[in-house]
Symmetry: C2
Subunit: 343 residues, 2 copies
DNA sequence: TATAAAAGTGGAACCGTTACCACTTTTGTA
DNA sequence: TACAAAAGTGGTAACGGTTCCACTTTTATA
């Protein structure tokens, strides 16, 4: 268990000062004669020297690390997002500290505090909803915050990366309208999130555009946590005037909702047409394969990382930015014209 | 963008020396009078002081961070594992730096190097297979390494946490034998991994126990990467004397294999009975629901974290430990007695 | 009551970088 | 040829904790 060489070891071995070595490591931080550089590079390779992240971080007050705060990796959407974020970050020499909140805002608060002592350069997160003060504090000390997929309205000056929520919901709704449905239900995120509201808006305007009355009973803004989506689905099916179609626009609730639907034995699409947000691997494997609104996860990840790394690098306007990427509607077998009303 | 208070600020405000504050922070590192402690604690709360991780890490040479090196979060097995590991670590005050290798050993090598400069206390990984030297180096500098699910034989003195691979494969095979199958194929991990070999062994001995001839054509040790599993499945189906049952024991390849099977249109279980390793959420949603060998992911995670944190804490025997937890066979609809041979 | 041991406290070196400044050597230009 | 500007180099103070050691006060024991 020998210990690693330090910058001083390199300096000594190469017969230069530590300053020079530091300049070699951080290309562009000062002049170094070509011959000297070469010598130092060789020595570094020979000694297998790697600068210690902690020292660097301490000295410059901020390291090449970002925090990724997600709800729960059990959900394929978040999992894929994490996968892409880690990958994109890696390409930029940035490490990712992962934290999960399990949709619990108390846990989230703790995570933020931890991220603070780690002096991360930035945070990419799908916020649970509360903790406005903590988010503010994070920004106060200069940590850049990027929200992906969701965002909370109380917090201003945050970058947000998401799909065009309004349009996507509208497209899905229109698809069902075109098939002849009029009783279309919507399960969306909580209305405290901008995402949740935007999707409801898109749904609303699609209905209104063709003159279909909006029935508030058919709109469910459910929390991300727990089995709220499944329960909403059950409730919707129990309605006297049952919906013939359902859009599940709360990504966190898709899995539980679909499972419940399958368990209940509703015939899809005969009894109920469904469209879910986000294209997971399994949406094609089930019977019937699900029509989905596919979120371009790779783009979401790329933009998030770009934003957070860009701001860390310093040269991005301080103005918060909202990036909206286009989602793609993929029609598969889970939608059809409405059947006769049962029983 | 004000800056955070330091230990010296606290010391000044509380009228004590930094040493005392340090001792208060690190309970048990030295004596502090009750009254003093109380005063310091109050000051810390008042100033909202939190010790900076980087400084601590630099000074003691090792921080409360572990690396988690996984192949790919797109696979639900790894995703769930990550979810649980992060959670377990959090409970112990440890942060997790996540890296993905995409099953590329070159990427893995880079990740290990990075982990090295971050001076993590330990690493939990599903190794790709190569990089024996890098793993050794990591151990040399005192980083504890725990392999989960897979392990590589060239590396000794590593903790390994996995299911009872031999038994699990045997159980699955026996289940198929009991149904009357004799031509049972196996897709397992590469034989360079102990996991891959153990599963083949289990399969073998199950067959031999009942006197069924082992046909090497039916055993495929495929790499974790790419569509190797799917291709193996295709190849198996093209065999003159086609198998009537298949065990997919390479977790990384389950998804791609099953997808291919569905696309091909093989009738399950009529034409082919299948059992896959690991119980993902979607295995119940497909038709027919898949019989699986369920890995207790939470246990795998817990033990891994326990091991790595335990060693960091210092007081675990230096002897490497192998933890094997029991997997559970869950019978669902994807297996039946062999049908007549087609064509 | 003397005296050794334990408890409590403070000072300062150290961990491995970066960054600023001072200094020397080139190089370019009038 | 003289002299200013630029290039190259080294010294050293931060950064914010931990830890060892020395010192002063208690407390316990003979």
């Amino acid at each position: 268990m020998k210990k690693a060489p330090t910058i001083r070891d390199v300096a000594a071995a190469a017969n230069v000062s530590v300053s020079v070595v530091s300049r070699v490591i951080n290309e562009g931080s000062g002049p170094v004669a070509p011959a000297t550089r070469e010598k130092v590079v060789a020595t570094i390779a020979e000694l297998n020297f790697r600068p210690r992240a902690a020292a660097r971080e301490l000295s410059q007050g901020q390291g090449l690390t970002i925090g990724l705060v997600l709800a729960d990796l059990t959900n394929p959407f978040f999992a894929s997002l994490a996968d892409r974020v880690v990958w994109e970050a890696r390409g930029r020499g940035v490490q990712v500290v992962l934290m999960t909140t399990q949709e619990d805002s108390h846990v989230e608060a703790q995570s933020l505090a931890t991220l603070l002592d780690r002096s991360v350069g930035g945070v990419i997160a799908t916020p649970t909803g509360g903790n406005v003060d903590q988010w503010k504090r994070l920004q106060d000390v200069g940590v850049d915050v990027v929200f992906v997929d969701r965002s909370i309205s109380e917090l201003e000056n945050v970058d947000v990366v998401s799909i065009q929520n309004n349009d996507s919901a509208a497209t899905a709704t229109e698809h069902l309208l075109d098939l002849g449905h009029t009783r279309i239900a919507l399960i969306s995120g909580p209305s405290s999130t901008s995402t949740g509201r935007a999707r409801v808006d898109g749904y609303r305007s699609a209905l209104e555009r063709v003159g279909v009355q909006v029935d508030p009973d058919l709109i469910r803004g459910v929390p991300f946590r727990g089995d709220a989506g499944a329960d909403a689905a059950t409730a919707l099916l129990a309605l006297p005037d049952r919906p013939t179609a359902l859009v599940v626009a709360n990504t966190a609730q898709v899995q539980s909702t679909v499972r419940r639907l399958f368990q209940t034995g509703v015939r899809i699409p005969d009894e109920l047409s469904i469209i879910v947000f986000d294209d997971n691997p399994w949406t094609q494997l089930v019977t019937p394969p699900l029509s989905v609104v596919r979120q371009p996860i790779d783009l979401l990840a790329r933009h998030s990382v770009d934003l957070v790394v860009g701001r860390m690098g310093g040269k991005l306007p301080r103005q918060a930015r909202t990036v909206e990427v286009q989602a793609e509607f993929v029609s598969r077998g889970s939608c059809s014209a409405p059947g006769r009303v049962l029983g």
